[in-house]
Symmetry: C2
Subunit: 179 residues, 2 copies
């Protein structure tokens, strides 16, 4: 606290504002000497997540849409051009949830390790339910701040409340990602 | 899934990429006919929070700094001018944590009910530890998108992991707010 404000309790006249509105009347402030205080705060431990809901005419399409939705949160993918292609080939253990998890993780890894490659279109070319294997291709280009908009980066995929509604005609998928 | 892609598993030649890099070689994609897929995803249930840590030469200053830190997350307060003053007068129940909670809530309410008034400087004029009462003034102006930058709006104050270290020489305060 500044020296000036150490005596403020004495200087301050409570009576002055007793008949005013709840938050006090507006003042012109012309008489207030302004020494703006130094900054004595910081921000820590930012946590945030977003739930992506996707759907499709098949479970493959719902997976594709979930991954495209993930990238669309990171930038306006309408501005991404079809300049490059990346392919992924993944195998899961156990169930479809693990397959979806690995599918999205792998695309995040492509983004992180391939100079921020952003696919605008993702196509699953092989979806093997028995082997729990996916081969997919992403068509897009490297993120370039001079031409693309900056959304919010997806940092990680989570299993939290993950849902895959295969039986539904719209094959809805829900996945929560950390941002 | 589009009609074209229904037969893609047959058309797709896995062998083609077997000797390539992990994510497949880059391709010029000139031969790819591009019908970008429709959007079948949406974003739900966004949750996020940030922890504000503030400190000061007194507990009053730490409270002031926590509130100024809260507004500085919502906009660059260096651009806020001293055009207006709002006063708050609050009483808490029980302990200092409730006092800090109500102090920050009240400033959020001023922001929400007084046409987005943003204080750049907040001064506590009365800090009564026995009565758990604070009278404070905020000096600033109404948020104006044409002159001010848009940060992230603080939606609510929480008690989650709230800490008030009165005994420390820096009187550290930690409060997590929903954004």
């Amino acid at each position: 606290m500044s020296k000036e404000s150490e005596n403020k309790n004495q200087d301050f006249k409570i009576e002055k504002n007793q008949n005013e509105d709840e938050h006090g009347a507006s003042a012109s402030n012309e008489d207030v000497t302004f020494d703006y205080p130094p900054i004595k705060y910081e921000y820590l431990d930012n946590t945030a997540d977003i739930q992506i809901h996707s759907w499709g005419d098949s479970i493959e399409e719902s997976f594709e849409q979930a991954a495209m939705g993930m990238f669309a949160y990171m930038t306006d993918t309408d501005l991404i051009e079809n300049r490059d292609m990346k392919q992924i080939d993944i195998r899961a253990d156990g169930d479809l949830q693990n397959l979806l998890f690995k599918f999205l993780c792998e695309w995040l890894e492509v983004y992180g390790t391939e100079d921020y490659f952003i696919p605008r279109k993702i196509e699953i070319n092989l979806f093997d339910r028995n082997e729990l294997r996916i081969i997919a291709r992403g068509y897009g280009e490297l993120f370039d701040l001079s031409r693309h908009t900056q959304g919010t980066e997806v940092k990680a995929i989570t299993y939290s409340n993950m849902q895959i509604h295969e039986e539904a005609s719209t094959h809805d998928v829900y996945v929560i990602v950390d941002i």
